[in-house]
Symmetry: C2
Subunit: 133 residues, 2 copies
DNA sequence: GTCAATGTATCATTGTATGATACAATAGTG
DNA sequence: CACTATTGTATCATACAATGATACATTGAC
């Protein structure tokens, strides 16, 4: 379902949360879908169950997941709640800037960057209309 | 010259390094330009001089800066060295994916995302030819 | 009620980020 | 050369974050 790099400099909790966010964003996980139990996913990834639990809770705070102790966790929504919207939109521009900064320093030309961008756009908006959120 | 958020969740050293990378990428800093001394920039930002020094060293490892003890630090190149290229290109796609993930979850539509992307592209490739690295 | 399965809380440990301070190298000045 | 000011660097201490081990609480099936 997703993977983590144990030797990465980005924390495991964040890697897991980002991975799940991406799954939801691309449609790989839809509203109502059940997620693996924290123990199951922890075993798959080779990390502590708490690490997975923390990722789940972070996403629950964003309104993306719902979790009930004893039952499990499922996708609550494919869009972030109002509380997260502002922070989220701010991150978008920051991350785009960071990506473009890296691209420029790596001597990618505009054409190459645009091509990559379009490829990824298709991953995320696969089958969506041009202005459908 | 640049600013940092003391209460951010992203480390100061990284904020500073990213800020300088961006300056170099956009052309605000050119090869040969002198950077502020670590004490000067540290005072401006309100952080410890070591924090700035660490950012400088990270960028030196990328081949972007040259620093000589007793003399100062200057921009060595506007492109990352070969050692950093692979890691850099990997980050580009990751960051783009993260940005698009955020955008989709924030219910931005394709048109809005493309518009933002183009605006930022112009910032970085201001006055460059379409395929000029 | 009992039991298995699930998420949660608590605590310990380790590593990272930051800062205070002392050190080393460079360059100017005489 | 000696001296001094300026620069980056190394060392150490401290606070905090991330991860994990373990015990706890809730849910649901029987």
């Amino acid at each position: 379902m997703l993977t983590v790099k144990l030797d990465s400099d980005v924390p495991l909790t964040l890697q897991i949360a980002e991975g799940i966010r991406r799954q939801i964003a691309t449609g790989g996980l839809k509203t109502g879908d059940e997620l693996p139990t924290v123990r199951q996913l922890a075993a798959d990834l080779g990390v502590n169950l708490n690490t997975v639990a923390r990722a789940y809770r972070a996403l629950e705070a964003d309104g993306l997941l719902t979790t009930v102790r004893g039952r499990g966790t499922q996708v609550a929504s494919a869009t972030v709640g109002k509380a997260s919207l502002a922070a989220n939109r701010e991150r978008i521009e920051d991350r785009l800037r960071g990506a473009l900064s890296d691209a420029k320093l790596a001597e990618l030309d505009q054409t190459a960057v645009e091509k990559l961008f379009r490829k990824l756009m298709r991953e995320f908006w696969r089958g969506a209309t041009k202005n459908g959120g």
